[in-house]
């Protein structure tokens, strides 16, 4: 199962847009790397990214490569089509990443909806959507 695209409807792909302080995240995605923003001052991870650390108000932020590993925090299964690009059924998962305080919305690139469970270990895998955009998705850790 997992996510399957109906590429006839690629025009309905929502191309990520970024504010100035988010560009590092999406540029890394284009290179098939998952990075998260971290405050150099206090170590807080900031995701989605922001212009300043919300804990200590430092502007000294960096992009840190993610381990790509996490666990399922919650999920839904689309069974009724909303956007024709995405063939139903497909899963949207909220992954709690190993990086403390980071959660990430994505899809399952492998596996079946009925096999998902809370705390299930998953790891990132990049899936090409179109010529420009790969997206970080997840697969079960074998």
């Amino acid at each position: 199962m997992a996510l399957e695209l109906n590429r006839r409807y690629l025009k309905y792909f929502f191309e990520p847009v970024a504010e100035s302080f988010e560009e590092g995240f999406w540029e890394a995605v284009k290179q098939k790397k998952l990075v998260f923003q971290r405050c150099k001052e206090c170590g807080e991870f900031l995701h989605p990214p922001r212009p300043m650390c919300h804990r200590c108000h430092s502007y000294d932020l960096e992009w840190v490569k993610s381990s790509g590993k996490g666990s399922i925090y919650s999920w839904v299964v689309f069974t009724r089509e909303v956007n024709p690009l995405y063939r139903v059924p497909f899963e949207v998962v909220l992954v709690e990443m190993e990086e403390k305080g980071v959660r990430f919305i994505s899809n399952m690139a492998e596996g079946n909806p009925e096999d998902l469970y809370f705390g299930m270990p998953v790891e990132v895998v990049f899936v090409d959507i179109n010529d420009e955009w790969p997206l970080p998705m997840f697969k079960p850790v074998k």
């Binding site: 996510l3 309905y12 792909f13 929502f14 191309e15 990520p16 847009v17 970024a18 504010e19 988010e22 999406w26 995701h47 989605p48 919300h54 925090y73 919650s74 999920w75 839904v76 299964v77 689309f78 069974t79 009724r80 909303v82 956007n83 024709p84 690009l85 995405y86 497909f90 949207v92 909220l94 305080g101 980071v102 959660r103 990430f104 919305i105 994505s106 899809n107 909806p113 809370f118 959507i129 955009w133 997206l135 998705m137």
Partner: protein
Amino acid sequence: MTIKNKACIVGIGSTEFSRASGRSEIHMAVDAAMAACRDAGLKPEEIDGAVKFGTAGQTSTEFTTETDVARCLGIPNLRYFAEAPWGGGACCATILHAALAVSAGMANYVLCFRSLKPASGTVRYGRPANIPIDSHWSYTMPFGFASPTSWVAMFTRRWMYETGATNEQLGWVAIVCRENAAVNPRAIFYGRPITMEDYFNSPMLCDPFRMHDTCLENDGAVALIVTTPERAKDLRQKPAYITSAAMATGWDSYCMTSYYREKIGIPEMEEVGKELWRQSGLTPKDIDVAQFYAAFTSLVPMQMEALGFVGVGEGGPFCQGGDRIRPTGELPINTSGGMLSESYIHGMNMIAEGMRQIRGTSTTQIKDVENVLVTGGLGVPTSALILSQGR
């Protein structure tokens, strides 16, 4: 200092609720505003303040500005105008703004309104064409995560896991709301109750939500008029006093996708609750009937927990069997059928129903009502009100 007893709602106006209104949002807003003026016993030109809705960036017609309405009603001048954003989260906030305005002397009579046409208009929530270009959506939309049903389903599943709540318990919320709508001639689902079998047989839209877990999509408008208690004495109707009114964003708030904070449920409503009880000096036990914003069934037991009606993990069991939330139960809910079964007007129809409970004119009237709770939309910054019989 609080807002308690400094303002009251004195007029309710509504269009019919339908699947095809045959007229524009502005037209319906004008119809509802005129009905509210007649109900209150006011001339439209006496209105001198207005509060409108905002959503998270859709199309301009949907916004139906206060000037659109003022022009059509022949209002000579609005000396107070404001917008309460965040879709359903705004509903009680419009009244809060109006109460602030009249109690500070910024306006005498403030019109709060919402007009929606999702059933037959061009703006339909959750369709790909309507996605606003705003960078925070980049973390959800590219993954096909593109409907309010799915966004609320995400935090609902986590809440069900943490509390042990079941789909059957959610089914009871749907059933009780349909029972209330079944005796309400205004309701889209007038005369059409459902059974638990109907609930489980309704199509799965986005697991864990079936069709009967989700709200209506219909056309209609509701308008309400707020003034001071002194001015209310000269008007036609018994006023509904504003005992408390609150808004909250909570920590790390996004539009519908606040998945990055410690709790992904509805912490905004916990914040709203603290403020409601502080301002009013009341406790959940003092609430005789609640109009819980329920675009989705789970939001009813989740709000019961967030506002302290029950403990964490007790919301689901409270709804089991339906008796405790029925009109004869400990906490009657959504007596018009609410947004699951009466009409989806971003919560404004639920404020109107709260007023009917104070006036004694509901189709499912609760006995001896002193205090009514009305809440705003969840998953977004939100608001709530307690309406009372007053002094």
